[in-house]
């Protein structure tokens, strides 16, 4: 049975968002996840529209998981981390495939964390974990709230461990996450949430 159809499966995906300071924060979290981590991970890291996205190549070389830029219509699979491409919004369809869009910037951002988190909350409902990391604007706060309202788990990086604390602070205020976790323990928390009872 695939995760998609197995009703015993607690979660179907993890979505993450980060902005200023995200390169190091994502490295810390993703490099600690084992190759067998059971959920696909979708990430929005705020980047410039003309970015070459070296972060993706860098992470792929150091992580045990595969790390790549999302391709449209791609079916998400566990063992892989999908990054939103520069200057596109990333959405996930209810069938687990990825879609890209060029709408207006949301919270001055494209890709926007809110856009990803909104579509993921609709697609996965309670079977979703959302993570907000370091950053300087509010993108992701509304999205994280939607995840929580749909019954999913909301995790925010402890603001004092963040390179810039305003994004985590905004997310905590808006979404009242179940977990506020220091950066170094976020990977451990994800592994714990996914472990079989």
């Amino acid at each position: 049975m695939t995760a998609h159809t197995d009703t015993r499966v607690k979660f179907k995906a993890v979505v993450m968002g980060s902005s200023a300071g995200g390169m190091d924060a994502l490295t810390e979290v993703l490099s600690r996840l084992p190759a067998g981590f059971p959920l696909p991970i979708l990430v929005v890291q705020h980047v410039s529209p003309i970015s070459e996205n070296y972060l993706v190549k860098h992470l792929d070389s150091i992580c045990k998981l595969n790390v790549k830029e999302a391709d449209e219509k791609e079916q998400i699979k566990c063992g892989t981390v999908y990054f939103a491409p520069p200057n596109y919004h990333l959405l996930v369809e209810e069938d687990g495939s990825l879609s890209l869009s060029v709408e207006q910037r949301v919270n001055y951002s494209r890709p926007s964390i809110d856009v990803l988190f909104d579509s993921a909350a609709i697609a996965f409902g309670a079977k979703l974990i959302g993570v907000i990391l370091t950053g300087a604007n509010n993108d992701g706060s509304n999205g994280l709230l939607k995840i929580k309202e749909a019954g999913g788990i909301a995790i925010v990086q402890t603001p004092s461990t963040a390179y810039v604390d305003s994004m985590p602070l905004a997310a905590i205020q808006k979404a009242d996450p179940q977990f506020v976790v220091p950066l170094s323990q976020i990977a451990g928390k994800l592994i714990e949430l996914c472990s079989v009872e």
């Binding site: 219509k73 369809e93 060029v102 609709i122």
Partner: protein, 285 residues
């Protein structure tokens, strides 16, 4: 507040209502959004529902059938595409280096911008052609099915706030002059110079339901296919294949790929990274 498990039944019903709305729009007005990527459509419909203060999607179906002006908003929402001048500067750089030499060999050049939205990409191409001394013998056809976007495209007036970004894009694309040579600034707006408009014809055309628009040497359709499901993408690429003269160039968006289409075998790849393809001469189509 529910800590709730989102009941699958609710999601199913909402999706059915959305499909009913798309069916109503198609049957009543002839616009076909039924093969668009669902997450995108859903997001925009729910956004409009909230903006209009409507209680549910079913009420939108009623309004559409009753001829309420909600349809205008919906059409705008579902067809709007945000674009920039010289978006993906590297793409335009490749057009200069790889495509312009090919276009130089034609005495007359027809170019189709399919899904041109508010025209930024068309004028970017006009500027590039001008700098490569090709504009004089080019006819650009810019089509879209959003009438308001076409009107804006014809006006060619863009906000001054965007000009800084466009200038950087232009420079990074290998622009040979100064970007300010191509527009006149007035209060909050930048007006594209008329001489860039002379070789452009704007027309209504709906890629989802219509066939080829014209026989052309080059088609530019960037970040339009991402909104279509695979079946519709394939249909549209079929339309493009039919429209292109042998040796004609097809340019897609940086995250779009021809290789998933059944028509891929009719094309050679000019630049895989920037999604520039060329129709083979010996395609029996």
């Amino acid at each position: 507040m529910t800590t709730g498990n989102q009941k699958p039944k609710d999601t199913d019903n909402l999706n059915i209502e959305i499909r009913l709305l798309l069916e109503a729009i198609y049957l009543k007005y002839g616009y076909d959004f039924r093969d668009y990527s669902f997450a995108h459509i859903k997001r925009r419909i729910l956004h409009r529902m909230n903006l209009a203060g409507l209680p549910n999607v079913l009420s939108m179906v009623e309004k559409v059938l009753a001829g309420h002006d909600l349809i205008q908003h919906l059409l705008s929402d579902l067809s709007i595409n945000v674009t920039e001048m010289f978006r993906d500067p590297e793409f335009f750089k490749k057009v200069r280096s790889e495509v312009a030499p090919i276009l130089q060999t034609y005495p007359h050049i027809n170019i189709w911008h399919a899904g041109c939205a508010t025209g930024e990409e068309v004028y970017s191409m006009a500027i590039l052609l001008h700098e490569e001394d090709l504009l004089r013998r080019s006819q650009l056809y810019a089509t879209d099915f959003n009438n308001m976007a076409l009107r804006k495209a014809k006006e060619a007036v863009y906000p001054i706030s965007a000009i800084k970004e466009y200038t950087v894009n232009y420079q990074k694309s290998g622009g040979k002059a100064s970007f300010s040579d191509y527009y006149t600034a007035r209060y909050n707006s930048a007006m594209i110079h008329n001489n860039l408009k002379n070789n452009v014809v704007f027309a209504m055309h709906n890629l989802a339901i219509e066939g080829p628009f014209a026989e052309v040497h080059m088609i530019v359709c960037r970040n339009v296919l991402i909104y279509f499901n695979r079946a519709l993408q394939n249909k549209v690429i079929g339309t493009f294949t039919e429209s292109l003269l042998p040796g004609g160039i097809l340019c897609l968006g940086s995250k779009e790929d021809l290789q998933f289409s059944e028509y891929f075998r009719f094309f050679a790849t000019v630049d895989p990274a920037h999604k520039i393809y060329r129709k083979k001469y010996d395609s029996t189509y």
